[in-house]
């Protein structure tokens, strides 16, 4: 299957300032791709290049196998800008109708359904929308024409937690319907529950592309075990993948890398009354990528 988005050596300089350098990336059909990096890393630059708002300094990018310069490609994309600006005296509903009209038409009920799901009031004049409501209007316009590719730049910024959940549900539905999604964020937590793969970009360069499942496999987990009687610390020392062991009477705390198998087998020799395993902290791995990359650069520079 051909990639939905394909870039090769995609580079963008703003004068002498590096926006993005040598990005080679494939986004496969039907996947949710999380595009991660701190602010100013080049996420928005990449997205704007894909939508032909800005033009590459060198390299190339295709969407659905066609050049990004072809305006017909954009009818198949739903786009939420990172800095969404809506202003003027026009009502949000009229603006959505205008956008829908240019993209080839969307039924009124589709817009109403989305507005209801996100709890957005479309009768408000755009200049008066709050930040959160602007973001909702932005999401509606991105999803309403059921595009084959959704490109969402920081989609959850400004949304309250309930609406964020609804948004994530919309993303999952879109994926179930076979659509492809590229969403950027500066925090992993925002995308880790929906993304299949994540790309990490830093200072204009793609530093890693990982499967979320593989990332989870390698994730660091904090585990707490409580026994019916005090346990000897030696029983848990030197187990593969288990570190930072601390025993206090009948309870044990440790950190495991990867599989918990060895720990479980060691604990089974005692009577376990309670077990707490925190969600794998992907953020931690995420940060090690950064520090490794940094160390590598520092090393190369030395």
């Amino acid at each position: 299957m051909t990639a939905v988005v394909e870039t090769e050596g995609l580079t963008k300089f703003y004068g002498t300032r590096r926006g993005l350098e040598d990005l080679t990336l494939d986004i496969r059909p039907g996947e949710v791709f999380g595009y991660l990096g701190p602010n100013g890393a080049g996420k928005t630059t990449t997205i704007r290049l894909l939508l032909d708002v800005i033009r590459p300094t060198s390299g190339r990018a295709t969407v659905f196998g066609a050049s990004t310069r072809d305006p017909r490609v954009r009818a198949r994309i739903g786009y939420l800008p990172g800095e969404l600006a809506l202003e003027g005296g026009e009502r949000a509903r009229d603006y959505l109708r205008f956008l829908a009209g240019v993209r080839g038409g969307v039924s009124r009920s589709r817009i109403d359904d989305l507005a209801e799901r996100l709890d957005a009031d479309l009768s408000v004049r755009m200049g008066r929308l709050s930040k959160g409501n602007k973001q909702k209007v932005g999401l509606i316009q991105a999803f309403m024409h059921e595009p084959e590719l959704l490109i969402l730049d920081e989609p959850t910024s400004g949304l309250d937690p309930l609406v964020q959940q609804e948004f994530l549900a919309m993303v999952r539905e879109a994926r179930t319907a076979g659509r492809t999604i590229l969403m950027s964020s500066h925090v992993l937590a925002e995308v880790e529950h929906v993304a299949d793969r994540v790309g990490i970009v830093r200072a204009g360069r793609l530093v890693a592309v990982e499967d979320i499942a593989a990332l989870r496999e390698r994730a660091v987990r904090h585990v707490e075990l409580h026994f019916d009687a005090p346990v000897p610390r030696e029983d848990f020392e030197g187990l593969p993948g288990v570190r930072d062991v601390s025993v206090q009477g009948a309870s044990l705390r440790c950190t495991i890398d990867g599989r918990p198998d060895a720990l479980v087998k060691a604990a089974a020799r005692h009577t376990v009354v309670h077990l707490v395993s925190a969600e794998p902290d992907l953020e931690e791995i995420f940060l090690t990528y950064y520090s490794e990359e940094e160390a590598r650069h520092a090393h190369a520079g030395a």
């Binding site: 032909d52 708002v53 800005i54 305006p71 954009r74 800008p81 600006a85 240019v102």
Partner: protein, 266 residues
Amino acid sequence: MPTLVRKTLGEYRRALVGWTVGLCAFLGMYISIFASMMKDPDTFSKQAIAKYPGALRDLMGGMSDIATGTGYLQAIAYQLLGPLLFTMCAVILGNRALAAPEEAKTLELTLTLPIDRRRLLLERWTALALGLLGVALVTLVVAAGASSAAGMGVPFGRILAAHTGLFLLVLFFGTLTLCVGAAFGRRQIALAVAGVWGVAGYIVETMGRSVDAIAWLRWLTPVHYYLDGRPLYQGWPYGDYLVLLCATAVLLMTALLAFERRDVGV
């Protein structure tokens, strides 16, 4: 009507109504006082006019025949204030076509619609031209109506010729603003270019005609092609108007080429 033209006209609606009302009030009021001024012939006697400094008279287009209907209409409506106000309207709307939405970041979403940039710009320009045409038509009716009511005795054909020139002049400045905005994406730059070219052009055309050193500069100002044919006196200056139209077309082509290769919103 194409969607984007209709949408842009919708955005312009308030401004268009405001400027139309303002221009009509200006034209209606100043033209209608002609009758009362004629009752007191001293106001515009040769002696009274002679009191104005020569340069000021030049700036106002001579004023030698301001006591006649044609002269008064030229001095009041078509010489300085009329074109100045209408040009301001055109420049403001021209900026709202691309530069203002780019600065406000609303242009980004429009650009990601399945419309190529050329069509986007052409439709925005068409809306600008149609809007200005609408203002021109309403003000034409008011100018012609008021001057006939005031008994100026200027034939409608001449007013139509002068008003057409006014429309072509403001269309030029509106297109110029849009063009600079398309090339640089900044309202201030577009405003500065249009303002300087307009004001300097007017001064060169009116006062420069007697200064040999800068007389040749008159050929470079759109105001020259607007004023020089004296349509209110002599009828249609086809050649001059054609120059204005062609210059507008060149600006539009330039805008298309410049916008096509721009990074928007950077």
